[in-house]
């Protein structure tokens, strides 16, 4: 029981990283109906931005809450700008093209970011500065690390913030309208291109936060680190119901827990297989995902 609680905690903390990345996939899918395969690489850039900011402010050698917050915010803002630039330069010119064209372009952007990352950051893994001291806390025999507390706390805060933004603000309302029907939204006077830019900014900032948080618990970062988590977060988004924001959160958490439980109780070599196993099962049995609703094809 105690071991199970430990696995569950590890799984939730890992899953909240997937959830943060999955949100970007699902929000972009919501407004543009395509999978932004470059999203995992934005997460990688987020980790590297944090690496450089942390070094610049000396967060590794003199850890402080202010420095950690600065690293997190800096990386999020940087990636938000990157996301907006990617959308402007690569996707917006293709707005009236078939979705397949945009999808292929996204793969191109992904390759560009990975290779540019190797060029700029170097292909060797880098050690992520530990600007939050690692401490272990024991709660009833379950070990809680300070990093897990930060990961869970920051993810929860970000998801609550996102929920408020989407449900309570005028821009969030416009975002939901654009997700439902872009053309009808434009007839309301909503500048849909600007809402799409905002979507990319928010999604990319969340991916950056995931990159920073993952650096804390797995402090080895490299330019290809976004590949697998990116794919798995995509699975999480599909699991929850692509286009559905709470679905992405739940899908991410379920996937994280499933991975940790599988590697804990069955075999760690199956860890990566579980995500794609889930993808196959969900596509066969419930392609709209856990929370997604069947959509009537628009004429």
């Amino acid at each position: 029981m105690q071991e199970f609680a430990q696995q569950l905690l590890n799984g939730l903390s890992w899953g909240s990283i997937y959830a943060l990345i999955a949100l970007g996939y699902t929000m972009v899918y919501g407004v543009l109906r395509f999978i932004n395969f470059a999203h995992g690489d934005v997460y990688m850039v987020g980790a590297f931005l944090a690496y450089y900011i942390a070094h610049a402010v000396g967060a590794g050698s003199h850890p402080s809450v202010a420095a950690a917050a600065l690293v997190l915010l800096g990386s999020m803002v940087g990636c938000a700008i990157l996301g907006v630039i990617i959308e402007r330069a690569a996707y917006r010119p293709l707005r009236r093209q078939p979705r397949l064209t945009v999808l292929i372009t996204a793969i191109g952007v992904s390759l560009l970011l990975e290779n540019a990352g190797q060029l700029v950051f170097g292909a060797d893994p880098k050690f992520f500065p530990q600007f939050i001291p690692g401490r272990n806390l024991s709660v009833g025999g379950v070990v809680v690390t300070s990093h897990q507390i930060v990961i869970l706390g920051v993810s929860l805060l970000l998801m609550a913030g996102l929920h408020t933004f989407v449900m309570k603000t005028k821009t969030g309302m416009a975002l939901r309208a654009v997700s439902f029907h872009r053309e009808a939204a434009s007839l309301m006077g909503i500048p849909t291109d600007r809402i799409i830019s905002i979507t990319f900014a928010v999604g990319s900032a969340l991916a950056a936060a995931a990159g920073v948080l993952v650096g804390l618990s797995n402090p080895k970062i490299d330019p290809l680190m976004g590949l697998l988590p990116g794919l798995k977060a995509f699975v999480a988004a599909v699991l929850g119901g692509i286009g559905n924001i709470p679905g992405a959160m739940i899908g991410g958490l379920i996937l994280g827990v499933a991975e940790v439980l599988v590697s804990g109780y069955i075999s760690s070599t199956l860890r990566d297989a579980i995500a794609f196993g889930i993808l196959i099962v969900i596509l066969l049995t419930r392609p709209t995902g856990l929370l997604g609703r069947g959509q009537v094809e628009k004429v």
């Binding site: 005028k170 309302m173 416009a174 939901r176 309208a177 997700s179 439902f180 029907h181 053309e183 009808a184 939204a185 434009s186 007839l187 309301m188 006077g189 909503i190 500048p191 849909t192 004429v299």
Partner: protein
Amino acid sequence: MPKLVLEDVHVHYGGIKALKGISLEIDAGEIVTLIGANGAGKTTTLRTISGLLRPAAGRITFDGADLTRLKPHEIVAQGISHAPEGRIVFANLTVRENLELGAYRRRDRDGIRRDLERVFTLFPRLKERYSQNAGTLSGGEQQMLAVGRALMSSPRLLLLDEPSLGLAPILVRDIFQTIREINAQGMTVLLVEQNAHMALQIAARGYVLETGQVIHSGAAKELASDERVKKAYLGE
């Protein structure tokens, strides 16, 4: 003085010529209707006016301002509101949010509140459904919401695309009655309808479209008694 003017507007859909030189005028305070068979170009005309489609040639002006190259949200800012075909209410949003989105560009809180009251007077049913998701409304209620939402931007010209589509006959009468009421309050209306009979009853003038061209136009009464129109579109 004419408000909306279309001059020789051509629109292509891929390789298909959907509009082949449409010219029409709408004066302030009028109800003008576009009638014609499926595929005649009625909806395309509305979609072009509201900026969803770009004309390949021709010019569209509203109160003297050139709309031809503007984007849909900029055209809303010019005072044109379009209740699209098939209603397309935001089913995942509440009735309140749908109406608020109609007023998306406005900042005048008092004016928005007044217009909301006006919509509730026209459609009391929407007030009862205020906090419900729009997806739970009946077809008739969704049509009310689509028209109410279009009014919330406080437009000077209202484009209505098939407001009677799929409604029970009693609701069809209601919706036409409401359009007449809105018009009596001073709103200029461009109405696209399959139900040519009803449309010609409330409109001042009409244009008959066929394969992307205007083939007749005139006072609604004259069109309603024109033999060719009767035969082709009124089923008489």
